[in-house]
Symmetry: C2
Subunit: 240 residues, 2 copies
């Protein structure tokens, strides 16, 4: 019997592109803001991050919260000089970000199918429930997963709850994801395994983590084609 | 063995007050809008409903979507004349609505405890994941529930999935809620039981339903104190 019973997959920037669309939204936002304030001023970008960080506690993750934070930032940084027309354009940025196409990352469908052939697999994704469900549906991957969990925060208590519902010991669970902070650190903390597949961009607020690059239950892959082999190296570790 | 194994409870306006806070938000919003447009014009209110209905498909339910819809409505109805300062006040309305206190409805804790004593109970609530989780935590009721499901839409497929995960037949499931559209109709449609506990206000978009007032597997109660007896009348129906 294989060591790993359940394999978890993150959604955004693991199965499909996401952060690129947020970056595009930010660029579009700054183009509007640039007609009012000096974008070369480092405080402009920092202000948005500060507003987002403060609003996360009230709004949670996701495009709608980002849009409200952008509106607030624009109003504050322009000393309320920004026009209603331009604020409407900011709302449109949010709407377009919610409607972005779901592009699977290269080789991801094959990798997920291969792992699903001899493991139970669960999609564990963070953010806005409505938007995540829409992306899952559009991805065409929903049927491959035995369970789908959209959660508001990916921390140890959340993974502990999900693993309890799956009735799996952490030592028999491996999580695949691009975020050391959200996908890897809490799972290692519970005694599970992590397979880190970095994405080329990481949101500033996701970059804070405390994972050692040589943590014993951590594997790192460069692309989806390497996932299956990484899982095999975990399976081949003798029981402690 | 009792006929009903699992009892589901809705959250908003079943366990705790919710719609009142949305109504307050709408009144605050119209007070701002009233300095720009004629509120006596019935189109003002209708425009907000129309924008909300259209945006629901993109934003989903919840306060953040409502706030974005209010901003959009305000910009459109004022022909872009509204000031950034006033739009910021609309964002504040949204923030305050997200931070409203969680007030349990009268007798609800006792009613839930009584039913939990001899049934498994599940909270099935619709809306924004982050806000719903915050309300569940503040309600102090979380520990009473054996499962908690935050869903993006309360329709037949959603209830079918939840019941499958709970491994319960619809005929052994009863749902308690204030919305005929979201809590009762889809459960009756699956062959389950509904206990309708009306709330004094209903959102216009929740008022559309097709439940007959004398549907055989429907019970109606006036308050939480009657829930236990209503469930007993369901338990006493002989098997078909």
């Amino acid at each position: 019997m294989a060591r790993i019973r359940w394999v978890g997959f993150d959604g955004d920037d693991t199965l499909w592109k996401s952060e690129d669309y947020y970056r595009q939204a930010e660029a579009d936002f700054e183009a509007i803001l640039g007609t009012y304030v000096d974008l070369a001023d480092a405080r402009t970008h920092q202000h948005l991050l500060d507003v987002e960080r403060r609003n996360l506690k009230i709004f949670g993750y996701g495009v709608k919260g980002m849009t409200l934070s952008m509106l607030e930032t624009a109003i504050q940084l322009t000393d309320e000089r920004i026009s209603a027309r331009d604020l409407h354009r900011v709302i449109e940025i949010g709407r377009n970000t919610l409607l972005h196409p779901v592009d699977l990352l290269p080789g991801i469908r094959e990798a997920v199918e291969r792992i699903a052939a001899d493991h139970e697999i669960v999609l564990i994704t963070k953010g806005d429930l409505f938007h995540q469900e829409a992306k899952i549906a559009q991805s065409g991957l929903a049927d491959l997963f035995h369970r789908i969990e959209v959660v508001s925060e990916k921390d140890e208590p959340t993974y502990a709850r999900v693993l309890r519902e799956l009735e799996v010991e952490p030592s028999r669970f491996a999580m695949v994801g691009n975020s050391l902070r959200s996908d890897i650190e809490p799972v290692l903390g519970l005694g599970g395994w992590g397979i880190h597949m970095p994405y080329h961009v990481t949101w500033a607020l996701e970059a804070e983590h405390g994972v050692a690059h040589d943590a014993p239950r951590l594997r790192v892959v460069e692309n989806a084609g390497q996932l299956s082999d990484a899982l095999a190296t975990i399976e081949s570790v003798p029981d402690a």
